[in-house]
């Protein structure tokens, strides 16, 4: 086996009718990493995953998984990947165990191997007690767990998880996070899509921010945060405070443009941290005649990254 990366995409284009889902996606996912594909709904995350998993044929560009082209060597790609989509890919009328055995057999395991593998996975995902029940009686969280278990059959080298926690309650989400963290201990490459900034931050070693069908930023969560300014200063103005004056007063200290909140009572700007920064800023604002209630420093979040890269917040676009 050569040293080809786990996933490589070069200018991948995919159109659905007149809608462009992928507009030249470039991506390199190193082996053995948890890689996050972060973006709002409609950014192209699912299309990207479906293309890598050989479910969609790209209209342009090329994509390779472990060095095998997803179009010309689709069969080889299929033998090394596992996929968990947004909708549980299970037979509702079969029991959990029967689902896993079926997928094991279809993954070319012998009957004995498939049975053993199903038993192991049910045990590890805490589903042994419910193993004989038809999947249609399962809760959303149990389905996701079983679905993830199904994608692990045959120990795939590259695993795709498409929005693994969308629609789950916080407790089920925490359970899924634990499971995903444990997965990565085995050295499996994991490509995870999410619209939750926190999820990417929690799970992924590297993140590609995707918007409008292309990657607009890439790096570790830390790198992405420092790209927008590692630290941010937040200034809460007293009611009736002069926003324009405050922005002018902040300018000498900030490493990028200041953003005012909608009600005009809070200003934020990236800053380069230095000793006594807060005190100096308070003095400058005071000198400019701006009344403030609080000045604080906080570390940039992925929300800030997203906002500064796309001009809209991740959640905002989701709601729209």
């Amino acid at each position: 086996m050569g040293e080809a990366p786990a996933i490589e995409a070069e200018g991948v284009v995919k159109n659905f009718g007149r809608t462009t889902a992928l507009a030249g996606l470039d991506l390199t996912v190193p082996r053995g990493t948890v890689y996050g594909l972060l973006g709002p709904n409609g950014a192209g995350k699912t299309t990207a995953v479906r293309t890598f998993a050989t479910l969609l044929r790209p209209d342009g560009g090329r994509a390779r998984v472990l060095g095998s082209d997803v179009v010309t060597h689709a069969a080889r790609v299929r033998s090394v990947i596992g996929l968990t989509g947004q909708y549980a890919a299970l037979d509702e009328y079969l029991s959990a165990r029967a689902n896993l055995v079926m997928i094991g057999r279809l993954s070319r395991l012998t009957a004995a191997e498939a049975g053993r593998c199903a038993g192991d996975l049910l045990e590890r995902f805490g589903l042994t007690d419910a193993a004989g029940r038809a999947v249609k009686t399962y809760s959303g969280g149990m389905r996701r767990r079983l679905d993830l278990a199904a994608s692990l059959i045959g120990s795939p080298e590259v695993l795709f998880l498409d929005e693994p926690t969308t629609g789950l309650d916080p407790r089920s989400r925490a359970v899924m996070w634990d499971i995903i963290r444990a997965l990565t201990a085995g050295g499996t490459t994991l490509l995870l899509t999410t619209q939750y900034l926190e999820e990417a931050d929690q799970l992924a070693a590297r993140i590609a921010v995707i918007d409008g069908g292309r990657v607009i930023a890439e790096g570790t969560p830390g790198e992405l945060k420092s790209a927008v300014g590692g630290e941010r200063i937040a200034v809460d103005l007293a009611a009736g405070g002069d926003v324009e004056a405050a922005i002018t007063a902040l300018k000498p200290f900030s490493a990028g443009p200041a953003v005012a909140s909608e009600d005009g009572l809070r200003l934020e700007a990236p800053v380069v941290l230095s000793d006594g920064l807060t005190t100096t800023v308070v003095r400058a604002l005071d000198a400019a005649g701006v009344q403030v209630t609080e000045v604080s420093i906080r570390r940039a979040s992925l929300d800030d990254v997203f906002l500064s890269l796309t001009g809209h917040s991740a959640e905002g676009k989701v709601a729209a």
Partner: protein
């Protein structure tokens, strides 16, 4: 969770051979469809309750009003036609099952597995063939109960059922194609009324073609359903007025059934698999 089961690389035995793989895939997926029937036996209604109702209605409601050219009992005439209807009737069920499958995430999983591309639809048709066997037994059983009798030997009886099942199997691929083309289970269900009901009624399945208007007779005589009915009646030694009809399929009904069935299989099976691959690729 330990990493043992999840570490990369497949330390598992790969079964050799594409064909062996295909057979395994079809077998595994056929068992899946049969498990569904075990959990919801009411899905068998279309090959059990429906044919029983049809046999009883035709025998006791219409039967007395239908004359058989050349004589003979309508009870004995009906069963040959009923077999064809009972089996072709499962095609809309195949279509519904395929549409439903295609709309779930399960198909995505199948398509991301290193399994045979043709297996999903093939398994569907095999499972439906098995339900057709049940349907054929039900038709024969209710036939015997109302006084249908066979006047030939075991060889002819086996040949008749074999032809009927070959014919029925060809129809499952028509259903699979419809399932790939139609968008909703409701539309697939409708195909039963729009396609398969006229196909059955404009044939000699229930009434001899001699009583139809002249312009309709050739349609009925070349209808594959008429060929199957004539072949079964001939092989069972039942009244077969079609023997007096000069159209080629009525003179050679067994050959006609085989020709129709093979033609349907050759056209619709590859077409269905192709549609499946195409649809799957978005």
């Amino acid at each position: 969770m330990t990493s043992a089961v999840l570490s990369p690389g497949r330390g598992v035995t790969r079964q050799a051979g594409r064909f062996a793989g295909f057979v395994t895939d079809v077998w595994v997926l056929t068992k899946r469809s049969l498990a569904r029937i075990r959990r919801e036996p009411e899905t068998l209604a279309e090959v059990t309750i429906q044919p029983i109702l049809f046999v009883l209605m035709f025998t006791y409601v219409f039967g007395g009003a239908i004359g058989i050219p050349g004589g003979g009992s309508y009870h004995e005439y009906l069963i040959g036609g009923m077999l064809g209807m009972g089996l072709a009737q499962t095609a809309p069920g195949t279509a519904v099952a395929v549409v439903t499958d295609m709309s779930t995430g399960l198909i995505d999983r199948f398509r991301s597995l290193p399994m045979s591309r043709a297996a999903v639809l093939s398994a569907r048709t095999v499972a439906d063939l098995l339900t057709q066997v049940i349907g054929a037994i039900v038709v024969a059983g209710v036939g015997l109960a109302i006084g249908w009798r066979v006047h030939t030997g075991p060889g002819d009886i086996i040949a008749a059922f074999a032809l009927a099942l070959l014919f029925g199997y060809a129809f499952t691929w028509v259903g699979a194609c419809l399932g790939m083309v139609l968008r909703s289970p409701e539309a697939a269900q409708q195909s039963g009324f729009v396609i398969f009901l006229p196909l059955t009624f404009i044939s000699s399945a229930f009434v001899p073609t001699q009583g139809m208007p002249g312009w309709l007779q050739p349609v009925a005589e070349w209808n594959p359903m008429s060929a199957l009915a004539a072949a079964c009646r001939h092989l069972f030694g039942n009244p077969n007025p079609a023997a007096a009809v000069h159209a080629w399929p009525m003179q050679h009904p067994q050959l006609a059934v085989i020709a129709w069935s093979v033609a349907m299989l050759v056209v619709f099976a590859p077409l269905a698999v192709r549609l499946y691959r195409r649809k799957a690729l978005g």
